[in-house]
Amino acid sequence: MSEPSLKKLTIDYLRGSVTPFVLPFEKGKKLTIVYGENASGKSTICDAFEFLGKGKVGSLESRGLGKTNKYWHSIGRVPADVVVTLETANSTCLAKIVKSEVAVDPVAARPRVEVLRRSQILSLIEATPADRYAEVSRFIDVSGVEASEATLRGLIRDMDGSREIAIARIQENQDAIGQFWSSAGKPGTEALSWAETEATRDPNESDLELEALAKLQAAYVRLGDYPARLKAAEAAIQAAATAATAVQAKADEQLQTIAKDAGEIVGVLEAARSYLQKHPDPQACPLCESTEKVEGLSQRITQRLGSFSALQATRVQVTAAGRNTQQVEHQLSALRDSAKKHAEEFEQARTGFAWSSDIEMPLASAPVDIAALANWLAATAQLIAAWKKAETARVDKKQFTKTLKGALKTYVENVATQQELDILLPDLTRTLEIVQEERRSFSDSVLAKIAGDVGRIYEEVHPGEGLNKISLELDPSKRASLSIGASFCGQAGAQPQAYFSDSHLDTLGLCVFLALAAMEGAESTILVLDDVLASVDEPHVERLIEILYAEALKFRHCVITTHYRPWKQKLRWGWLQNGQCQFVELNRWSSHAGMTLIANLPEVERLRVLLGNVPPDPQSVSSKAGVILEAALDFLTQLYECPVPRRPNHQYTLGDLLPSINRKLRESLRVDVKTGADANGTGIYETKSLTPILDELIRIAQARNIFGCHFNMLSFEFLDSDAVGFGQQVLLLMDTLTDADAGWPRSAKSGSYWATAGETRRLHPLKQPS
C-alpha cells in the first residue's frame, strides 16, 4: 500500500523558523526543490524532516557542540516552543520536545526519513571498512541465521564423532564375539551367526538346573550329620540308664539303714506338714483326733522330717534320673524320624529333576533307616565334588552367555547407530551446504545490488568514463568489514579514495546514499538531500539533476535543497521536467521575518499572467515575449544548426535569429502535441504546424523593439493590440513547442524527431531539410 502524499510541513521555532513557516506541497508532485541563497533556511527544512523522522537535528552535529538539544529552538524561544507538523493526505503527525527528547504523536504516522547533507556525502566512502559495514549491515546482517548455522555445524561435528565411535565399537564387539566363538570351539560357519543363535538361548534353562543342584547338595549335606548324631544319642541313653541304676541303688541302701517303714513314715509326715501349713492352729491331731500334745505339733513334725532329709535328696535324684532316661530315649526316636524325613527329601531332590547326563547320582537310594546311613554316605562321598564341578561349569556357562549377549547387543546397537547416522549425516551436511550457499549468495546479491545501483547511477552522471564498475565486498578474513572498489584506468577494485577526484568522490558518495536509501522501503521513505550539488562540477550537474528526478520517483517524496542558481533558471525557462517537481524559492532569512517563500513562476507562465491582466501592459508583454521568443529561436537554431552571425559575446537579436530559420525549414516544422492516450496507453497526438506561427511572428516581430525594448516614438503609431498579438503568438509558439511539465523537445532518441520527456511533444523534422 502506498504511503499518503505530503500536503504541508509546518515548522514552529525550530532553528531558523523564528516565526512559523509553512511549506506546502503540490498535489501529484513527488519532488520538491527548495532553492535559496545561503542563510535562507534550507537546512532548517531538512532539520525539520530529520527532527520528525529521526528525532535529531543532524545539521548541528560534528560542529563541536556536544549534545545539541539546547540549540534546537529558535533564538528567543524555549525547547517547548518547537513543533514540527507534517500533514499528509490522511493524517497529521506532530513532533515536539519533551524532556530533551523528541516526542511524536501519533507514533504510527511518524514518517520514515533519510537525510543526506553535503558534509556527510563522503562519510561512507571515506569510512573505515568496519564503519562502512555498520552502515550497510541492516541489509546484510544475518547474525540470526549464522547462529543457527553454527548450531548445525556443531551437530554435524558431534554426529561425525558419534559415528566414528560407533564404528570403533563395532570393531571391538566383532573382536569380542570372535574370541567367544574361538573359546566355544568355533561351532558353525562364522562367529556372528553363532553368537546370534547363542543369544537366543533361554537363560532360565541353566538357572533351574543350578537351583535343583543346590537343593540336592543341601539335602545330601544334611544327611551327612546323622551317623555322628546317632552315636551321640545312643551314648546319652547308655549314660542315663547307668546314672538311674546308681541312684536307685543308693536310695535303697539309705532306706534299709533308717527303718523298714521309714519311707511310709516320711510320707505321712510330709502330708501332715502340708496340712499344718494350711491349718497352723489345729484343736486336735488330724490323724488320731487326740487333743493331747497338740500344742507344738508342727514344730515336732518338722524336726522328725529333718531326720529323713538325705533320703529325700536321693529320692529326688532317682526321679530326675528317670526323667533324663525318658528324655534321651525320646531324642533318639526324633533323630531317627528326622533322618528318615531328610532321606526322603534327598530322594525327592534326586528324582524330581531331569538331570543332565554329566551329573552323577548315587547308585542306591538314600536309606530311611538311620543305622544304614553311614555306609550309604561313605559309598557316595565322591558325589559332592562332582556336583560342585557341574555347578561351577554351569555358572561359567551362564556368565559366558551373558557376556556374549552383551557384546552382541552392543554390536547390534552400534551397527544401528552407524546406519542411522549414515542416512542422516548426508542430509545434515547437505543442509549445511545449502545454508552456507544461501547465506553467501544472499550477502553477495545484496552487495551486488547495492554496487550495481551505485554503478548504474554513477554511470548516468559520468557516462563513458569507465568508472562505474563499483564493487562492495565483505572481507572473509574479518568480521563486519566491507571494502569498496571501483574500476580506474582498467584496474579493477581500485580504492576510489586514492584515485578519484573530489568531484567524482562526491558523486560516488551521493550515488551510494541514493542506492542505500532506495534499498529499504523507498516507497515509504521521505528522502531529503541538503545542498548535495554544491561540490559537483558544472558538466555533471545537469545529468545529476536528471538522475535525481528519476531516483526521486522511487521514494514517497524527495526534498532537495540547493543554492545552485542555474537550476532555478532552467526551471524558470521550463528546460527541465517541471511537471515532476515543485520548485520553491526561499527569501533571505531575517531575524524578524524568519523564513519566507518567494512566488516563482516559469517565464512562459509569467507571460501568460501578463497577457491575462486587464488591460494588458503592451510594454511588459512585448518585453517578456521578446525574451521568450529569443530563447525559443536560440533553441531551434541550435537544434537545426542554422547559420547566425558569429559574434564574440554570443548575443543574438530577433533580427539575427528569425531569418536564420529559412523558409524550407519553417515550412517543414511541425509538432505532434500529445492530447491523451488510447486504451493501450499509446499516445494520441494532434499535429500542429509551426509555419503560420513563425510567419506571423516574422511579420510582427518589430513590435518587440517598438514596445518592449526602448522608448520609441514609433510606438505612438501602433495599436496596443499589436504588442498583445505579438505576446499571444509567442505564447502560442511556446505552448505548441514545449510542455510546461515535460520541458523542451531535446531528445533525438527516436531517430526521426525531437521529443520531450514522455514524448508529450514531437518536433519534426529531425534534421534541417536539404
Binding site: 541489509f139 546482517d141 544475518v142 541465521v145 551437530l155 542430509d427 545434515l428 545449502i434 544461501e438
Partner: protein
C-alpha cells in the same frame, strides 16, 4: 518489513523443501527459529530425520 535474517531463512527453507530434506510443514516451523538464531541441535535433527523418512524422496 522482514529482516535480512528472515528473508534469508525463507530462502534456505525453500531450498531444503525443494531438495526434500524438509517437509513444507517443518520448514514453516523452522524458518522463524532459524532467522532468530534459536535453533538447537535437536531442532535441526528432528525435522530432517522426519524429512529423510518421506517415501516420495527421490
Amino acid at each position: 518489513m522482514d529482516t535480512p535474517s528472515q528473508v534469508l531463512a525463507a530462502k534456505i527453507v525453500d531450498r531444503l523443501v525443494q531438495e526434500k530434506i524438509l517437509t513444507p510443514d517443518a520448514a514453516k516451523k523452522l524458518s522463524p527459529l532459524l532467522a532468530e538464531g534459536k535453533l538447537r541441535a535437536e531442532d535441526w535433527r528432528l525435522p530432517i530425520e522426519l524429512g529423510v523418512g518421506k517415501e516420495d524422496k527421490a
